[in-house]
Structure formats: C-alpha cells, structure tokens
Assembly symmetry: C2
Homo-oligomer: 169 residues x 2
C-alpha cells in the first residue's frame, strides 16, 4: 500500500499541529496590563526611590529593571509629555520627578499609560464610549457588574500613590 501526500500540505499541517500543541501546553494567558504600563510604573518607582532629585538615565533603569532601552525611552518620553517627569539632555541628563511621589495617584499614571481603567468603554469615566454592539445599556447584564468592578479598582488605584508603591524595598 502506498500513501501519497503532498509534501507541502504535510508541512503546513505539521506546522499547525505544532502550534496547537504549543497552545495546549503553554496556554496563552491574557495580559490585562500592557508591558508599556508595567514598565512605566516600574520606571517611575525607580526614579522615586532615589531620594535626591538628580536626573536618572534611561540606561540605568533599563539595566536595573531589565527593560529594553529603546522601548523604555519611548515610555519615559510619554511620561514627560504628560507632565509626570522632567528631562535634561546631555551628560548628566536624564529624567526626574517634577511632583512629590505622594501626590501622584496610580489612577493618573495608569490612565496615561494604559488608557481607561474600566473593563468596557461604556462604564469608563474618562474614556466613555457607547458599546456599538449593545442594544441597551439599561438592560445590559454586563454593564452594572462592570461598574462595580470599575469602582473597586478605582478605589485601590486612588488609594495608592507613587510613594506607596516605591516604599517597599
């Protein structure tokens, strides 16, 4: 008996097989917090930990926190543009806090880096948007649940300042 299979098709399906096996073994875990936000928070905490207000270089944070320097550059730039950091160019330059860590709420940081705190736009306070697929907000079973989630998350993030999360060694 001879079984003839097109080699290309075999290759393709073998590849699919491997992908599916990988998926079932290392099941994908959805990341709610983007790396950008995570790195941004880490960088802010790193800068806040240094009690002197001398500029901190991207390269130092990058090494210490194991973050791609180029990626980090873009994040710190954004944090500067949104008013969390100041910067200085040239030797001895870097980024520094322009407000007290105690006055920087984590809600503000996350809103700038990540966007809305709500899990669906239709319950977002700062980024509200009607769900285009939703027949009615009033009868929506998800809506009120997500309002509760939003409020409890807001409470936590509003209770934590940059000083709080930088405190622990």
């Amino acid at each position: 008996m001879v079984i003839s299979v097109d080699a290309y098709l075999l290759d393709v399906s073998a590849e699919k097989l491997i992908i599916n096996v990988k998926k079932s073994i290392f099941e994908y875990i959805r990341n709610m917090l983007s790396k950008k936000t995570k790195y941004g928070i880490k960088a802010l905490a790193f800068i806040a930990k240094k009690s002197d207000r001398k500029p901190v270089q991207t390269s130092e944070i990058s090494k210490s926190e194991n973050i791609s320097q180029k990626f980090l550059e873009s994040i710190l730039l954004e944090l500067r543009k949104s008013g969390f950091l100041g910067s200085k160019k040239g030797k001895g330059g870097g980024y520094y806090l322009i407000k007290e860590p105690e006055s920087i709420l984590m809600t503000a940081v996350i809103r700038v880096l990540e966007g809305p705190i709500a899990m669906v736009p239709c319950v977002s306070l700062n980024y509200y948007e009607k769900c285009d697929d939703c027949p009615s907000e009033e009868t929506c079973s998800v809506h009120s649940l997500m309002i509760q989630v939003r409020d409890s998350t807001l409470k936590v993030l509003g209770d934590n300042t940059l000083a709080d999360i930088s405190a622990k060694k």
Copy 2:
C-alpha cells in the same frame, strides 16, 4: 522644476497618513474585557432570565443580544464543555442551565471565558506564572499594587452570581 515621485510609494505613505490621522482622531481604547466574555455573560444571563428550563436556541440569543450567531455558537459550546450549560440537538433543542443561577459565581464564568482575573500573571491565583522579564517579585513595585487590584476585583465578582446580574430588567 519637476518633482518625480514613485506612484506606489506615494500611495503607501498616503495610506499610512490616513491610518495615523484615524488613530489620532478616534483614539484607540483598550478593551480589557473581550467580546467573547461579554457575549458569554450576556448569553448566560439571557438563558437565566427564562424561568422555564426549556432549551434556548443560539439564534434567539443572537438576534436578541445582537451577537454574530456563529461566534456565539462557539462561545456556548465552550460554556457547555466547561459545565455551565447542557445542550440538546435537533428541533426544540438549544442550551439550558444545569445549575441554579444563584450558585454560579461570576468569578467562575470569567475565569472560563477570559482566563485570569489578575492583571498580571504573577499575581494570578488560578493561572500563576512568573513574569519572565521581572528581576524579582519581592522588590517589584507593580506586584503588590496588582495584588490589591486582584483582590478587590475578586471580591466584586465573587459577590455577584448569575442570578444577580440577570435580575435587573
């Protein structure tokens, strides 16, 4: 003076321009809750609302909740396989609850449809995973903050059952 520009390149950059303009006008809002989960919750609530335990057809839910029927099929199938629903084939068939709505916690529903409730894998109770980029969990400034967020979210989702979210008309 003659300016010569390759027509293809012009087309390509014009397209990019449009994309960037669109991005800056309709700024992207990150959706934390996937449509799959949202639709799944809506479908469960829809089924729970019907006091009789007769099977509900995918087509009925699809129309009423404005959800793509094929997409919904795959979601309900998953909910059946994970033990939330029973099904019946053929005419008069459909999906039905196999537990009381009062006993179905939203934590369970979301964990099956969405995956972890935590915003980072390193604070997930059911899907724990070390962050590969993180030098140390103990000194991580994001870690403890995300534990607080996780706990407050768990509290809300654990306090709500399917009966609760189906209650409101």
